[in-house]
């Protein structure tokens, strides 16, 4: 009458696998479309019949995109890379130091300082884009790398994550360093940082991805074409429609590629980092 537990679980897992497989196909469709469109001719994309995959892959599309002087695509990739790297290094430096100070250095008013940091978590950064723009423009940083990078370095949330992490850092290691005569500064650089590289890497990767993909702030600041990040450039191509559809998809594909590679290579760290960051936040 009743099925054996074994049989039921096999049936159950067949159901689970089919559900997961269907969902996975749906999740992969957009990636398929990017590759297909990037390597197709205009006619294949817009033809009457759906072409699953172009009979002849159009590798020449790369040359077409890179040689297209009306499209500052490669330059925008360079801007994004520069902004991404500097923004990530700066954030790691400034926020980790603050997190360590708040977690480990006893000071009478440390709590008040911590609350001043926490309070900024209540105000989402993008809501303050109007006043931030006003400030940055009066500093003369519009269409300037400084305007793209510096205002984003002081993220209360990242400092908070570092504080939580350092609270759990084994005290014995630092105490040994103190016995050897190192101050807070020496102990931090010689003992704490080298033993926390995993955490720094996880936060670094997440910071880089968020920076690379961010749009509103670079849109507001990047008013000259020379300071467009790749997201601003892509967005302009979408609305202006002065560019061929296959070039557009190739550009989008190339802009995604570095992050996809990072994802595949650092999957484990990232998953841990996201889980840690998300749950503690």
């Amino acid at each position: 009458m009743s099925r054996s537990p074994m049989g039921r679980s096999r049936l159950g897992s067949a159901g689970i696998y089919s559900a997961v497989a269907v969902a996975a196909v749906l999740f992969l469709v957009p990636f398929y479309l990017i590759i297909r469109n990037a390597l197709s001719t205009e006619q294949d994309i817009m033809g009457a019949a759906w072409v699953w995959f172009p009979a002849h892959l159009q590798w020449g599309n790369f040359g077409e995109l890179f040689d297209d002087t009306s499209v500052p695509f490669l330059h925008s990739m360079l801007v994004s890379l520069e902004v991404g790297v500097l923004h990530t290094l700066g954030t790691l430096l400034v926020c980790s130091l603050a997190g360590y100070g708040l977690a480990r250095i006893p000071y009478r008013h440390a709590n008040k300082v911590f609350y001043a940091v926490l309070a900024t978590l209540m105000v989402p950064a993008s809501v303050t884009f109007v006043p931030s723009f006003v400030l940055v423009s009066s500093l003369g940083w519009v269409s300037d790398l400084r305007g793209l990078i510096i205002p984003g370095l002081f993220t209360g949330f990242t400092a908070f994550l570092f504080r939580q992490y350092f609270l759990g850092f084994p005290k014995e290691l630092e105490e040994a360093a103190r016995v050897d005569g190192l101050g807070y500064w020496g102990a931090y650089w010689r003992i704490v940082v080298p033993n926390s590289l995993n955490f720094f890497a996880a936060i670094g990767v997440i910071t880089f991805i968020n920076g690379w993909n961010s749009f509103l702030w670079p849109l507001v600041i990047g008013q000259d074409q020379s300071s467009w990040t790749v997201q601003v450039a892509l967005s302009t191509f979408i609305t202006a429609q002065t560019i061929n559809i296959h070039e557009l998809f190739l550009a989008a594909g190339i802009s995604i590629l570095p992050l996809v590679l990072v994802f595949v290579a650092l999957q484990r760290w990232l998953v841990q980092g996201v889980a840690q960051a998300g749950i503690k936040g």
């Binding site: 689970i16 130091l97 884009f129 209360g156 997201q231 998300g278």
Partner: protein
Amino acid sequence: MSRTTRAFWLFTGPFLIGLVVFVYIPIGWSLWLSFFEAKGTVTPTRFVGLSNYADMLSNGDFVHSLLVFTVFAAFIVPVTYAVSLGLALLVHRLRFMKAFFRSVFFLPTAVSYVAASLIWKMSIFQGLRFGLANTVMGWFGIHSVSWLASPHPPWYWLVIVSLRLWLQCGFYMILFLAALQSIPPHLYEAAAIDGAKSGWQTFRYITFPQLRATSVAVVLLLLIAAYQAFDEFYNLLGSGTTWGRTPLLYLYQVALGQNQDYGHGSAGALVLAVLICVVTLLQGRILGFGRGED
């Protein structure tokens, strides 16, 4: 100053200076601007009291965008929550190829809203016959739909919601997976001894309550994200759209458009900030933020 105090400021000083300059001063300046007529200038002289606020709160477009995005949040938050949790529960039970499927669902997190908007607008929901959705509908003899070209009927919500789900679910699935892994197995063993059937009963009485802390965090993050929607609306509907206009998009048009109206823009930004704070605190109250996990 003692050595320890000096060390404290050495470590936290650079961050705190930045926080004051780039967070506290802009907020303060914005508060000040919001009481002035400030068009195209950031050092205005004409004090107008609360009239910027009164204008914004009686401005049909702004109030409408706040209302629409409250409805949007009320819809997208539970749907994203359910889909992410569902994916996590499925992936958690996989015995082989678990890492593969986890990667597939997580991968869209690497894609920007701009690139996703491009795929959605120009390929999946392209309004002409060659778009993927229209092609598939064509196979079943259904007429093509121009998904984004007009607000009636509001098909653009389907485009926006599906894009958001694709981009967001993998990230929250990872949070749920981590939480699922940290549920102590003995709870399930004890439940089995007590005669609980695996499936709905264990989910209802063990899994779901154990996910409480994660659920609260996920709902909070989703709510804030919903009110800050900008990227995909801007890129799917255009910068000058008058429908599907998010609060941030509206403020962008007011403050950075032709008029450069920083006074009204600042007042609107502060209204939005207060609204987000209130919604955040309310959801904390309702879901019991800060309550213990067990």
